[in-house]
């Protein structure tokens, strides 16, 4: 709401409360109360009032006047990979390096950009025959979560690197086609309120019985996520 200050008129009886009320209005206005209606219409563009502040570890981000960008990046070498095992819970589990917790000083819309590489290693296979099926054994799902609510439209999958029907690891690793680069672009249509929120990619092991060992370990590498918060 624009500032409202009522002038005194000649002849008014000016009491202490009248002065105090106006001073309080001016204080509020100067200390964070300047609103859109107070501005002229052509005086400035947002690039002029954006004074970015950059923060590094442990929560790298850029904070600006009208938007914040939170980002995570993990180098692609194998020693930086996250490894999930087949006998994990079949619940959605956060993928380290693909999660962001952040604070919004005011209500905002968020936009998420994410990409990563994933593949399965260790499933038993059989000799490759013309009828060997590829990408048939679903190993895990990936899905973006906003405040622990899964976003169905971001679901991605990874498959075992064999047909999973063999009994020996000697023939494993015959299907590099099952290795995936995945990406997710997402605009959260619900406005997030001021406060702390979290966005992350989670993975869920596809139901398996250990004895059949349809797949082994699931690697997630080259993990990148950016959460862009745009204030309203």
């Amino acid at each position: 709401m624009p500032i409202s200050l009522t002038d005194f008129n000649n002849g008014d009886t000016v009491g202490a409360s009248d002065v105090e009320q106006r001073i309080r209005s001016m204080e509020n206005f100067l200390n964070g109360g300047t609103s859109q209606g107070d501005f002229g219409t052509s005086w400035i563009h947002t690039d002029l009032i954006v004074r970015p502040e950059f923060y590094g570890s442990p929560a790298p981000r850029a904070q600006m006047v009208s938007a914040d960008s939170h980002y995570r990046h993990t180098m692609g070498s194998i020693e930086n990979a996250v490894i999930f095992y087949e006998d994990l819970s079949d619940k959605y589990l956060p993928v380290p390096g693909l999660g962001v917790s952040f604070h919004l000083p005011e209500a905002a819309n968020i936009y998420v950009m994410c990409c990563f590489r994933t593949f399965e290693v260790g499933a038993f296979g059989k000799n490759r025959s013309p009828t060997t099926e590829l990408e048939e054994k679903l190993a895990a799902y990936f899905r973006l979560f906003v405040n622990d609510s899964g976003i169905g439209s971001t679901e991605r999958t990874v498959y075992a690197n064999t047909d999973g029907t063999g009994s020996s690891s000697a023939n494993a690793g015959t299907n590099d086609l099952a290795r995936k680069n995945h990406s997710m672009l997402y605009h959260h249509t619900s406005t997030l309120s001021a406060g702390t929120h979290n966005v992350c990619v989670k993975m869920k092991i596809n139901g398996d019985t250990n004895s059949t060992r349809k797949f082994g370990r699931i690697f997630v590498t080259r993990r990148n996520i950016i959460v862009h918060a745009q204030y309203l």
Partner: protein
Amino acid sequence: MPKITLTEVKKGDPLKVDKLNSSMDSIRTAAAAIDADNVRIEGVDRRNFKATSTAVNDVASFVNVSSGVTNLNVQQDFVYNSSAMHGHTTEQFKHHTLANGIIGPFSWDASDVAIKLNLSLAYTVPGMHDAHATEPKCSVRPVSSRPYFVFDIRRRDGSSGSWNTVSGTERKIAFNHVAPNFADRVPHKGSLSIVHLVDLAPPSSGVYFSPFVTIWYQRLSRPITITGYNFFGQRIRR
């Protein structure tokens, strides 16, 4: 660069309303005259502004195309069937509540920098096989055509008319598994994203964007399935 000047009341002076009014006027009129120097020199920043005062409409640097109609976050399958066995067919994305997977209308003026289009999806494409006697154009032989499909984003100016490909948004996916016979073919699955900045010169209005897929040399009635589909646009302003 406006500055606030308070009219001091000195001891012994008569306290007249014009002195108080002068101080209030200085503050009241300052905001409308704030300029870039207040930011650069005076350090005016977020702390001086009320929440939501800096990113609304004409002062926003980044405007989403609003309303539920123009933002699609859906979980559903989009199934296409090629009708041309030896050629190609182009299909527009569909949506369960909209006629098509369209975002817009966009409008922009000279102060806009670009429109950022964002498309992300997962796909499943049927496998190929070498039984070329029945599918000569769909097998993998030295003389055959190799099936593939291309995603792109297209633009339409106005609420009707033709769609034109936005150059640079094409993403080509090939059929990369070939089985010896029809029964053994296996689908190929993956995901892709398209992020594209659209040139905004000259100013315009009533512009729509929509994803398309073009299927080349695919056999009749083989579905390409799209799941996990997000498509949205943002205006980026100066």
